[in-house]
Symmetry: C2
Subunit: 153 residues, 2 copies
DNA sequence: TTGATATCATTTGCATACGAATGAATTTGC
DNA sequence: GCAAATTCATTCGTATGCAAATGATATCAA
C-alpha cells in the first residue's frame, strides 16, 4: 500500500545514502519527548505548581524583587507568557506586585511570605525531580549531558 | 536587601555544601530552553507549519494511513492534542479522515496528495533545522548528546 | 528641547499540552 | 454469552508559548 509506494518513489528518485527520514531520530523530536518526561516527573512531585510557576518563584527567591520584564528574561519567558504566570501566582497570594517609583512603566514583582515559605518547602522536592529526571544516566554521563545540553540552550 | 536576607538565612540554617539552588543549572530548565531554541530555529525555516504538525505529516509519510490514536502514540501526543493538530491539518487539506470499516471507534488519518507534496518538500528543510540545532556541537559531541538525550526521553 | 527610538506592559489570537469526564464501540474474563 | 474492563475519540478547562498590535513611558539624538 502506502509503504510500497514510498519504497517505489525512493527507488525511482535514487535518493542518497540517508534517504529515509525518521522522526524519532531527530533532535527536535527527542528534545520534545525528554522535556515532556521531565514535566511529567515534576507534576508527580509538585502537583500544585507548574515548572514555569516554580521557575518564577525560585528566581525571585534567588534575586529578590525585580520587574516583570526582567524576571521574564531571567526565566526565558516572553512578556505575554510571564504575565500569565505572574497573574496566577498573584491570584494565589505567592507574589505581590508594586509600581516602580521612578520608572512608571515597570511592574515590580516580589515573593510574599507565603511565596517564600512555598519555595523553601519546594526546593528539596525540585532536587529530587532533577535526580529522577537524570536517573537513566550515570554520574559521568550526567555531567557530559548537562555540558552539551547547555551548549544547545 | 533581599540578597543579604538570603545569605543570612543560609548562614543561620547552616545548610549543606550545595546550599544554593540555581534554576539555570537544573536539567528541566535547560531542557526547556534548548527546546525553545529548536522551535525557534524550526519556525525560521518552516514558517507555515509547527513542529507537531510537521511530526504528524512526517509520521504519516513514513507509515501510511493509521488511526488518530495510534498516530498520537507514535508522535508522543495525547488524544486531545493530536485531535487539534489533525483538525488543523485537515482544514488545510493536508490530511484526510475516514472511518475504520471494522472497528467503528477508529478514525483513520492519511495524507492527501497535497500533504504528500508538502512533506516531501519540507523534509530537506527539516534536515537543515536539525543541523542548525546541533551546530554548537562537534560531530562527536552530537553523537554523544543524542545517545544520552535518547536515554532521557 | 523635541522628535524619533526604545522599553515595559498589556491584549488578542492561535497553537500546543494535558487532566478529567463522557460516550460509543470493542475486547476480556468468567 | 454477558457483564466488566478497555480502547478510541471528543469535549472542557487550565496553562504555557509566541507573534503582532497597542499604549504608556523613558531615552536618545539632532
Amino acid at each position: 500500500m502506502s509503504g510500497e509506494d514510498n519504497l517505489l518513489r525512493l527507488v525511482e528518485a535514487e535518493e542518497p545514502d540517508e534517504n529515509n527520514y525518521h522522526l524519532q531520530d531527530q533532535v527536535g523530536f527527542i528534545l520534545r519527548k525528554a522535556h515532556q518526561r521531565h514535566v511529567s516527573i515534576f507534576a508527580a512531585h509538585i502537583g500544585d505548581l507548574t515548572p514555569p510557576q516554580f521557575a518564577a518563584l525560585a528566581k525571585l527567591y534567588d534575586i529578590g524583587e525585580t520587574s516583570q520584564n526582567q524576571l521574564g528574561t531571567l526565566i526565558a519567558m516572553d512578556a505575554a507568557t510571564v504575565k500569565g504566570v505572574i497573574d496566577r501566582l498573584k491570584a494565589r497570594g505567592l507574589v505581590e506586585l508594586s509600581k516602580h517609583e521612578v520608572d512608571k512603566r515597570r511592574l515590580l514583582v516580589n515573593l510574599t511570605p507565603e511565596g517564600r515559605e512555598a519555595i523553601e518547602r519546594l526546593i528539596p522536592l525540585a532536587r529530587t525531580i532533577t535526580e529522577e529526571t537524570l536517573a537513566p544516566l550515570t554520574a559521568k554521563e550526567t555531567a557530559t549531558f548537562l555540558r552539551l545540553l547547555a551548549k544547545l540552550a
